[in-house]
């Protein structure tokens, strides 16, 4: 089987095949290699590769897996290329940008008003959660098209706070 893989944004492929004696894999255009993968605890994999021992902890998130190895965390997306083609068609990066609350919290204040032009990286709104105030920033430039919530309001995770067009 072949997969499209994104590791911290870098694209490559992973091929996995059966072999009489076990399993082999190939990353990108590299060599076929053998690895021994053992799930020692739920979500925790002990991997032996060329005599080296790795412990990988995998957490599934919405957009791929978070994999931590030796204190280093990587984001890994793994897709069957057939499905990947279908999905990427739906994942467009233009169109309105909805800035959503990453977690439940209270809106402290807006730093922009409807109709403002914003640049990438500009602060949009300050939200307070877990005793800390956090500023959400614009990922790209645009025009503030809507602010669906009000200052002082308590919002839940995923609530749209600012729409940029």
């Amino acid at each position: 089987m072949s997969f499209n893989v994104q590791i911290d944004g870098r694209e490559t492929t992973l091929d996995v095949r059966e072999n009489g004696a076990g399993r082999e894999f190939r990353l990108g255009s590299g060599e076929w290699r053998r690895a021994q993968v053992l799930e020692v605890e739920p979500g925790v994999f002990s991997i032996l590769l060329d005599g080296r021992s790795y412990e990988a902890r995998v957490e599934n998130a919405q957009d791929g897996a978070g994999v931590t190895i030796g204190g280093r965390r990587m984001r890994v997306e793994l897709q069957d290329p057939r499905r990947a083609n279908r999905q990427s068609a739906g994942r467009r990066t233009d169109g309105p940008l909805q800035v959503a609350a990453p977690m439940p919290g209270k809106i402290v204040r807006f730093l922009v008003a409807r109709g403002d032009e914003v640049v990438a990286g500009q602060g949009l709104v300050v939200i307070e959660a877990m005793k800390m105030q956090n500023e959400l920033k614009a990922a790209r430039p645009g025009l503030v098209a809507a602010i669906p919530v009000r200052e002082g309001e308590t919002v839940s995770a995923g609530a749209v706070l600012v729409v940029i067009e």
């Binding site: 993968v37 053992l38 799930e39 590769l49 931590t68 280093r72 793994l78 919290g105 005793k131």
Partner: protein, 498 residues
């Protein structure tokens, strides 16, 4: 000695205090909000009292409910921890007048040190250096200029009524002063309705170094040396160490700062544990910043290096015991570092990350101390500070302590919520950090040069394999909803039996 003590706090600090109380044979009373019925501090307490709903002001900040709890459970003393009511003079006074011993300084000391300007005056009166500045507003640019030339550039113009950076101007040269003064003054006038501006020496990239004090009710007070707390993000300490890399080789400077801290605390009639914070310039001048009239988050590094249990001494002192340690008895052994592990997402602007802990592996072994308030399965609530645990290490030298911290971070894993552990992994591997040349702007500079903690060339292959192995097997349509299993798991076991 007390038979029973109520801990008016939650999370890791409540657990940490309980550990010492349990060792002292003192029963512990936990208090909890609706969000914390299953919290570690409730599970491990001897007794527990429900305060109210989750928001702090309806639970952990309710003085009346806490006194009610102390009364209902027959506690004799109350330990406030840090945060919440710990620096609330009214709470300290209320405890005492309700007949409970407040494990901390007298209410009056908290009050005196609680106001920044009052504390500054008090420090000046006690002969403790403060950041040079005018006490009142400058009447004219000329008056400001006289002061600026006296204390030396760069200086900071500040609105007397100010706050939030409004009416604040940095001035580096005499010729810029007049213009900056007028700008600051008019901005202050618009913002606060008061155009007065005063001037203060600008301390560039200072170190933040604090002195731990311990004093009994009989007038004996000692300092336990310093902690270096210059690694800060948004003015929040995230990594602390003892000794300070600066002071480790300067015992006379430690002594000078220690004596200054004791003078300031004595001026406030202080007893119990407390900390005096200083800004330290590159030329090693130090200036009183404020006093924290409670146990600090970072107290473990002092405990590791001095061998003292600060909470035990807090309780002994509150019970009226004499502090039986003389200043000259103290010795600072080796080096300790602490990292504050927060539930926050380093990939998303360190946004707090609440939720359920779905996996937990904690570091241990030689020289590792973990003070944690979480467990596998615990739901980190939204309502409180996102600190999960404090990871501290001790070793014979600072370099060994840094290596040990890196090792401990590698062992530490929290699943289900994001943490700042990867930031610490990179930070303790940073050359400038290892050199010990720290200042409060250090972390901001570090973010610019930050390099991911080294890994070998195959780490990406391994990450891909792990992600592949973790995929659930494709379910057979309409088949039984089997638990997700891994193809590789079986493969691994086959390999094992070969």
């Amino acid at each position: 000695m007390f038979q029973k003590i109520l801990i008016a706090n939650r999370g890791e600090i409540a657990v940490r205090i309980m550990r010492t109380l349990r060792e002292m044979g003192i029963r512990t009373v936990a208090v909890y909000s609706d969000a914390d019925r299953a919290a570690a501090h409730v599970r491990w307490a001897d007794e527990a009292f429900h305060l109210g709903p989750a928001p702090s002001r309806e639970s952990y900040l309710r003085i009346d409910r806490i006194l009610e709890a102390a009364c209902a459970h027959g506690a004799e003393a109350i330990h406030p921890g840090y945060g919440f009511l710990s620096e609330n003079a009214e709470f300290a006074a209320a405890c005492e007048s309700a007949g409970f011993v407040f494990i901390g300084p007298p209410a009056d000391s908290i009050r005196k040190m609680g106001s920044k300007t009052a504390a500054r005056e008090l420090a000046i009166a006690a002969g403790v250096p403060v950041v040079p500045g005018m006490r009142d507003g400058a009447k004219s640019p000329a008056e400001a200029g006289v002061f600026a030339r006296t204390c030396g550039y760069p200086v900071l113009l500040k609105a007397v009524a100010g706050g939030g950076g409004k009416g604040m101007r940095r001035v580096d040269r005499d010729e810029d002063l007049e213009g900056a003064f007028r700008d600051a003054s008019s901005e202050a006038g618009r913002a606060f309705g008061d155009a007065s501006v005063y001037i203060e020496k600008l301390i560039e990239n200072p170190r933040h170094i604090e002195i731990q004090l311990l004093g009994d009710k009989h007038g004996h007070m000692i300092h336990l040396g310093e902690r270096e707390c210059s690694i800060q993000r948004r003015h929040q300490k995230i990594l602390e160490e003892c000794p300070s890399p600066l002071l480790a080789s300067k015992p006379e400077m430690r002594q000078k700062m220690g004596e200054a801290a004791i003078r300031a605390a004595r001026a406030a009639g202080y007893y119990n544990a407390g900390t005096v914070e200083f800004l330290v310039e590159r030329n090693e001048n130090f200036y009183f910043l404020e006093m924290n009239t409670r146990l600090q988050v970072e107290h473990p590094v002092t405990e590791l290096v001095t061998g003292l249990d600060l909470v035990r001494w807090q309780v002994e002192i509150a019970a009226g015991e004499k502090l039986t340690i003389a200043q000259e008895d103290l010795a600072w052994q080796g080096a300790a570092i602490e990292c504050r592990v927060y539930a926050e997402d380093p990939d998303n602007q360190f946004f707090p990350s609440a939720g359920k802990i779905t996996g937990l592996h904690e570091p241990a072994g030689p020289g590792v101390r973990l003070d944690s308030g979480i467990y596998d399965g615990w739901n980190v609530p939204l309502e409180y500070d996102p600190m999960l645990a404090k990871l501290a290490v001790w070793a014979g030298t600072r370099n060994h302590a840094i290596a040990r911290m890196r090792r401990a971070i590698e062992e530490y894993h929290v699943a289900g919520v994001q943490t700042n552990l990867s930031l610490f992994a990179d930070l303790v591997s940073d050359e400038a950090f290892v050199s010990g040349d720290l200042h409060t702007g250090f972390l901001e500079e570090f973010f610019q040069r930050r390099k991911a903690y080294a890994a070998d060339a195959d780490i990406e292959a391994v990450a891909a394999l792990a992600a592949h192995a973790a995929r659930p097997l494709t379910r057979i349509e309409n088949g039984p909803a089997a638990a997700p299993a891994s193809r590789w798991k079986a493969a691994g076991r086959d390999g094992l039996l070969r």
